[in-house]
């Protein structure tokens, strides 16, 4: 995907967000029953911000278009979300979301943290290819040690030394 396409999609999303904010500010309670000054209604700034965001969205859409002669700028043709590893990104995001929103609160902190750190370290340092079982066992053992150290180390450090309550 090129930056111009990404900008056009974002412009639509931002326009909708801006208009929603504008409508939200307009329809917001004006607290007339409390006899507040009409210039201090709670919806005033949200309305202004919504309008400004909608305006910026229109300008963004315009800036993503080729000029009258059909020429595009380097900024418009710059690649978007390329040059990195999609699989590493997806795995990182999935592991982090499962840990932070799924495991934390459902399992005790040390168990959840051990599972996350072990899985993360093992997945991202896994030596691929057949017949590399020695390296694979070493990776699993390293991940295991790291998982145990981080899970119990953070619990000890934060709860007992820094007196911070853990999730």
């Amino acid at each position: 995907m090129r930056m111009a396409q990404a900008d056009r999609v974002t412009a639509v999303v931002l326009l909708m967000l801006g208009l929603a904010m504008l409508a939200g500010g307009w329809t917001m309670e004006r607290l007339e029953f409390r006899r507040i000054h009409p210039a201090s209604i709670p919806g005033l700034v949200p309305m202004i911000l919504g309008g400004l965001l909608a305006l910026c969205a229109v300008l963004l859409w315009h800036s993503a278009r080729p000029d009258a002669a059909g020429r595009t700028t380097a900024r418009q043709t710059a690649p978007f979300l390329t040059g990195g590893s999609w699989s590493r990104l997806a795995l990182t995001a999935a592991l982090a979301v499962v840990y932070a929103i799924g495991l934390i609160g459902w399992l005790p902190f040390t168990a959840a943290t051990f599972a996350f750190v072990f899985a993360f370290a093992a997945v991202f340092s896994w030596p691929g290819g057949a017949g590399r079982w020695r390296a694979q066992i070493k990776t699993l053992l390293s991940a295991l040690v790291l998982g145990v150290c981080v899970a119990f180390g953070t619990a000890l450090l934060f709860e007992h030394l820094f007196l911070v309550r853990l999730p």
Binding site: M3, A6, L14, M21, G24, M28, L31, H37, P38, A39, S40, I41, P42, L44, V45, P46, L49, G50, L53, C56, L59, L60, R75, A78, F80, L81, G83, G84, S85, R88, L89, L91, T92, A93, A96, V97, Y99, A100, I101, I104, G105, T113, F116, V117, F120, A121, V123, F124, S125, S142, L146, V150, T154, F158, F162, L163, V164, R165, L166, P167
Partner: protein
Amino acid sequence: MTALADLWGALGLLMTPSLLFNAAWATLLGIIVGSLPGLTATMGVALMTTLTYSLDSTTAILVLICMYVGAIYGGSRSAILLNIPGTPASAATSLDGYPLAKAGRAGYAMGLATTGSALGTLVGIVMLVLIAPPLAEAALNFGSFEFFWLAVFGIIISGQLTADTTPLKGYIAGILGLMVAMIGSEGIHAHVRFAFGVPDLYAGIALIPAMVGAFGFAEVLTAMWNRGGELATTKDKSDRTLPRLLDLWRYKVTIIRSGIIGTFVGIIPGVGEDIGAWASYAAARKTSKEADQFGKGSYEGLMAAETGNSAVVPGSLIPAITLAVPGSSSSAVLIAALFIHGIRPGPLIMIEQPQFISLISAMLIVATLFMLIFGLTLTRAFVQVLRVPYAYLMPVVFVLCVIGTFALSQRMFDITVMVAFGLVGFVLRQMKYPMAPLVLGIILGALLDKSLRRGLTLSDGDLMPFFTRPVSAVFVVVIVTSILLNIPAVRRAALAPLRYLGRKRDA
């Protein structure tokens, strides 16, 4: 003389074994955090804030300042050895640092970077001591009208200067930050806005979870998405870490100029260390006798970049302490941390805690001393730190993000906020939206909202005082000019006289 005596007294206060020990480990940790690509100073300070909840306020602030100073300096390590800036602040450092390392002069490059950083921080400290008290005094006369424009000025300038491609994206990031600040109970009538019936949203989105997400989780995602760099391991036998005094003396003007540029960049709201380094680097290249060496391993270029970015640290604290408006993303977290520890930054600081500016300056001096000691002695150890694989480092960082977010108010909701900001922050970064205006928007949203409505109430709905009061008028002129200069036709017309004069001089 009073300022000097106060500073001396504050330094005396910090000379206890316990405080020095805390300063030492925090600076060392800061250097390690800064040197690892993917971990930035803002993230380090945000995570460190969570460790300081149970500490007394002096220790807590000392630890945070040391982390900030250490991390900004630490970024130069990977910039020199890997050609990947450890923090965005060191991007300009890699231009000359990496060629020097490739030529086997990594040790000397790191020595110069260390000395440059220390001197830059010291120049910034002098400016902090000189500028902060009169600024706080002047700000005592600010009313709602001026504070409204100050908030607008911060967002506009930050959006303009931190945007990678077009200022429009900086403005959008700033507006998005302001919109986030509109969530929850507002500050005048306590009316709950945009909570959609979710009780967790009644208090609004807290800054720390948002920042840990935008700077912590988003950086974990970015680090795993990107590929690693190649470690420069060539070593020249004549390489040494301790810089020659002759080299420092030769670049004295560059050092002082970069320190002053860095400090002033730091004072501008939301414009961080990276801009300080680039501005100093550009100024040095423009005036240098060896401009052709810039980008190929110039000592002067390296010194300018490192002096510039480190001077931003004290510079960014000037508006943070006196106006509660952060000069950089890291100082935004520092403001939140100050509130947590019972210190109220703002114009009243000189009345409520007159010694505070001296204390912060003394803390910066202590941090600089430890930075100098560690930087010049532990060169080899830092090379080893850069060999830690991301597979082992990043899960630990994310666990700290979760703990730090939860520790603030023991709410699972904050963890969800952190994750959401991380995912959205990653996409926005990839689309070249700067994060600094977004953060500034979150922190300045309440000030902007309250100041506008309070000002309008005071003037009975009349907009004129927003434009006619002297300070407000200056803000309006600067804001309008800076926006108009983005329009090519206006810029061409405005710069035409300067171009004419330039042509006349060349002829």
